[in-house]
Amino acid sequence: MAARGSCPGCGSAALVEDSHYAQQQLVCAACGCVLAEGLLTTTYAEEEHLREVAYSQSTGQKEQLSRCLQRGIRRVQDLCKVLQLPTVFEETAVSYVQRALQHPSFHLVSLEKKELLGGCCVFVTCRQHNWPLTMGTICSLLYAKQELFASVYLSLQKELGLSVPALSLADLVKTHLNSFRLFQHAADIPAPFVENKEKVVARTMQIVELASETWLVTGRHPIPIVTAAAFLSWQSLQPAARLACTLARFCKLAGVDLPPPAHLRLKELLEILLRMASQLAWLRVFNMDKKTVVKHIGDLLQHRIFLLKNAFCPEDEEEQRAAAPGEASPGSPGAAGGAAQGEGCPSGGKRRPLLPPCLINPRKRLRTAAPSASDSAITGEEPISDSEIEQYLRGPEEIRAFRKAQAW
């Protein structure tokens, strides 16, 4: 086997690779001059012998992966590390990213969206394992706009046919409350504000369950509800010291963001609690308002099943108009069953139907009239009068004036 090059001694081109014992030597066949010996096959030597080693071939594992895929996988791995997820999650998420980036519909997607794909895969993995991760968290970690994330997430779900189970509120409560800072003493937190974490978590869960039973959760963003519930439960555990604290201050002390809808959720929760309080015999004597009811949240939660049944009439039964104040006895639902499917209750009535807030306070909307008979008689083939069309055309003077104004 001839090697390349020429012998420095005699100039012959007949170079042979031979071995002296076990040592490889490059010898000139003509004069016997040894050109090189002890050549170990290193990458450098290979290159010296003019054999190019491509980068993709030399780094074994990554040789099949494109740069985009590598970046996606690295993003997923980083996210999993930051969120401290189990290794199983990382493997699943990486497999999703690979499937996604190799899917034809994601090939030509913008780089910005490809960046988000990694986050979406992590999000889907967490949801599938019932790990309560919100989109807000992922978006803030990726510095992504939520609308963009939403569109990438939905197309990912559709293209890969992933089934993503619903977010479990119970787990979300636990995770969200983990980030609250009020469970340990700190310099900026007044002593009476510090609270035992388990108690707060337990009571918050009960309030969130109550909210979901009374239609406050369906269709709404979960985090504001959890924040409002946490606030109420924290207040109710030591009302004397904490009633004066506002929701905003609570969030600041706890070190969490105050989501804007939280105030509305708080109002709705208090309204539900007030109605329940009106059914509790030993509370009826007091004039409850939204401050004082907080003191009795413990009792209300304890008897919530009974109170809910009595404070709210079933959705499809009509309210009895003549209900005397304070006399809505538990036995009346049967008597109140009317033929009409009344959802509204008279404002003065003691009970209101258990309905989502959007049905209780419908926003006034201008409803266009239902298609009239004359509309339905249109065949689509009617003759079109010239005058009708001409109303849409500009006259010549108008065109001139317009041209001048526009300076096209």
């Binding site: 919100t134 269709g219 499809d316 959007c358 249109i378 065949t379 689509g380 055309l393 108008e398």
Partner: protein, 309 residues
């Protein structure tokens, strides 16, 4: 999120059921009555049924009465468009709408029509919900088949706006029927906002007329309904969390993103937006009957979630 409620021009077979609404209400009852005999066999819980094998609704059951409707089509076209219509048809169909069956059906007369299901009078089944979804928006496309000077149109028409930096089409509106059209320089036009198929057709013709009066040789080719949107109210609140659990393979409920549940029904292929208030929006239909059928399929499922805790 690809599902755009108002304009989602999808490439599909043409359809002009303008003969449906003439015998107005009775036909509708008959329609969803006749379509509706099926739910007796359909399980109310879709999760136990494997529907993945079902094809989309195709031309198969709609190729009746083509020829008699074809004759009616001749009269409708304004100007002398009917002759060009038939000859250009096959070209147009291969260009814009790659549906092979359409080209073969073009019996040289007119765009093939897809009339509604046969009108055998049938009384609505007793499970009928009694609620009829109202059509809210119809999106249709038509080919004017001539190159248009958009700047010229915007200058000479009162009801047109044109901002080439923002969007490459003229946006034109007419008052009756209250609609909006996007007119492109290629001569293609999208008409949105009508409340019925006939209104959409009438509106599209009016836009074509306006363009004709502005001096362009506009025709009226390949009018097709691309999307229909309907809405209705079931009158009771719905537990969306429960619905997404039992119908997971069809539903997507992400309260962080959108307050409603997105239900992708397989047969008919309709997307429904279901809200906690009981309001339902149905979209993605090519025919009115699909909306009615979809609603009648979803109604028993929703009723199952009526009695909450």
């Amino acid at each position: 999120f690809k599902d755009d409620l108002s304009t989602s021009p999808q490439l599909f077979t043409p359809m002009s059921p303008y003969d449906v609404d003439l015998p107005i209400q009775t036909t509708e009852d008959v329609l969803f009555g006749s379509q509706f005999n099926q739910p007796k066999e359909l399980p109310t819980d879709f999760s136990s049924v494997d529907l993945s094998f079902l094809p989309d609704i195709t031309q198969d059951n709609k190729e009746q009465n083509l020829f008699e409707d074809g004759h009616e089509m001749q009269k409708e076209l304004d100007g002398s468009t009917s002759n060009e219509d038939s000859s250009i048809l096959t070209d147009e169909s291969s260009l814009a709408y790659p549906d092979a069956s359409q080209a073969t059906e073009a019996s040289g007369v007119c765009p093939p029509l897809t009339p509604m299901a046969p009108m055998t009078p049938v009384t609505p089944a007793s499970e009928s919900s009694g609620i009829v979804p109202q059509l809210q928006n119809i999106v249709s496309t038509v080919n004017l088949a001539c190159k248009l000077d958009l700047k010229n149109i915007a200058l000479r028409a009162r009801n047109a706006e044109y901002n080439p930096k923002r969007f490459a089409a003229v946006i034109m509106r007419i008052r009756e029927p209250r609609t909006t059209a996007l007119i492109f320089s290629s001569g293609k036009m999208v008409c949105t906002g009508a409340k019925s198929e006939e209104q959409s057709r009438l509106a599209a013709r009016k836009y074509a007329r306006v363009v004709q009066k502005l001096g362009f040789p506009a025709k009226f080719l390949d009018f097709k309904i691309q999307n229909m949107v309907g809405s209705c109210d079931v009158r009771f609140p719905i537990r969306l969390e429960g619905l997404v659990l039992t119908h997971q393979q069809f539903s997507s409920y992400e309260p962080e993103l959108f307050p409603g549940l997105i239900y992708r029904m397989v047969k008919p292929r309709i997307v429904l937006l279901i809200f906690v208030s009981g309001k339902v929006v149905l979209t993605g239909a090519k025919e009115r009957s699909e909306i009615y059928e979809a609603f009648e399929s979803i109604y028993p499922i929703l009723k199952g979630f009526k009695k909450a805790s």
